[in-house]
């Protein structure tokens, strides 16, 4: 294993990144509990895969990608499980706490929740996390053109939800 990956510096960077990782994961999963679980899985995966990280790759982008892949795995796994356990699982997952949190979310966050995942991810990475188009496209594994069109559509939808400014052209 690449020892530089588990250096003190890596640890400090990772701890410092946790708030942003959680925020990104919440935008991804739309559920704070799932978000923290995904962050935890991503940390554990990252530890064993430091050798797969490009030396010049930003830690935030690399970790965002691992969080996203963990969520993709989780959704696949739930898809399988739901074929058998759908009724109970649905009841378990929608806790009153989650609903309460959604109700009290600020309007911008509520608007974000209404975006399709593709657009929400583009908006989250570029506008909230401040990544470049190129970095965001790499994380989402799409061409830059796809990223920008998702970003444009996401913005448009948010403008419409947040104040009807979308009509102004």
């Amino acid at each position: 294993m690449n020892t530089s990956g588990t250096s003190q510096n890596f640890h400090e960077e990772l701890v410092a990144l946790l708030p942003r990782l959680r925020r990104f994961a919440r935008n991804l999963t739309r559920n704070p509990h799932d978000a923290d679980d995904m962050v935890q899985i991503a940390i554990e995966r990252a530890i064993t895969r430091t050798d797969q990280r490009q030396p010049d790759a930003r830690l935030d982008g690399w970790m965002f990608k691992i969080v996203r892949n963990a969520w993709i795995d989780e959704m696949r796994s739930r898809g399988r499980r739901n074929k058998i356990f759908a009724p109970e699982e649905a009841g378990e997952r929608i806790g009153s706490e989650a609903i309460q949190q959604e109700v009290t979310l600020m309007s911008v966050q509520a608007a974000m929740l209404r975006l399709p995942e593709e657009q929400r991810m583009a908006v989250s990475l570029v506008l909230i996390e401040g990544l470049s188009y190129k970095e965001a496209a790499e994380i989402l594994e799409v061409p830059i053109g796809t990223l920008t069109s998702r970003l444009a559509r996401g913005r448009e939808t948010l403008q419409v939800i947040l104040g009807g400014e979308g009509e102004i052209k």
Binding site: L14, R45, T48, R81, V108, M112
Partner: protein, 262 residues
Amino acid sequence: MNISDETIMAYSDGELSAEERAAVERAIQGNPELEMRVARHRGLRDRLKLAYSAELSEPVPDRLLAAARRAASAPTDGKVVNLNDARQAAQDDSRAANDESPYKTGWRSLGGIAAGILLGLGVGYGMWQQGGGPITRDASGALVATGRLKSALTAQLTADQTPTSRVHIGISFRSKAGDFCRSFALSGAAAPVGVACHHGAEWQIQSLMKGEAGEVGGQYRTAGTEMPPLLLKSIEAEISGEPLDQAAEAVARQQGWQAPAR
């Protein structure tokens, strides 16, 4: 000059090259409509940043901090523990071996979230090592029972235990891999519960999670019915046949929890 929406957006986000930027700036000069579009893009970004800025100052849960710190102190010889990956590998094996059982799907589904939770606790317990906690890591990095937990798993029969036992054994069973496994509950604030399987000379911790309100009035409740649903599901998925009854449990103990060939 015709300027596309995407160009305006990219300009607003600082994504254009110097030449492109200069071209857009020339076009914007004296064009209030373009100016407004840029302002809208930037205004939305500011609004989003503001709406999500508070989350950055929220306290980070201990389990995540512990996981991230573990990253630094982890051994760098390639034997870093990753329960999640180990579990995934085990699932892949069992999936290949037996795909018709309905439980398979349930077990697999634990892979993501449950393993994350288990891992968080596991990492925490791993760090107790110096303090002589009930769980430690062996040379290969696997979580194994030690101290009072190991003693209880090895010696304690469910028939003998009392509500004041510091470790409470729930059920004993044979895993699909053939090992003897026992569910346990520990006293303490986190009231962790889990499953350990006897493998080699050790009790390997297969799953570990936070128990729910483990202590009631200073007395430990009987394990079993109060086990978290997630733990029960993991047992359902791992169990081969029925749980051991008291007689079978006593025999297994007498034989040192060595799995008989079958």
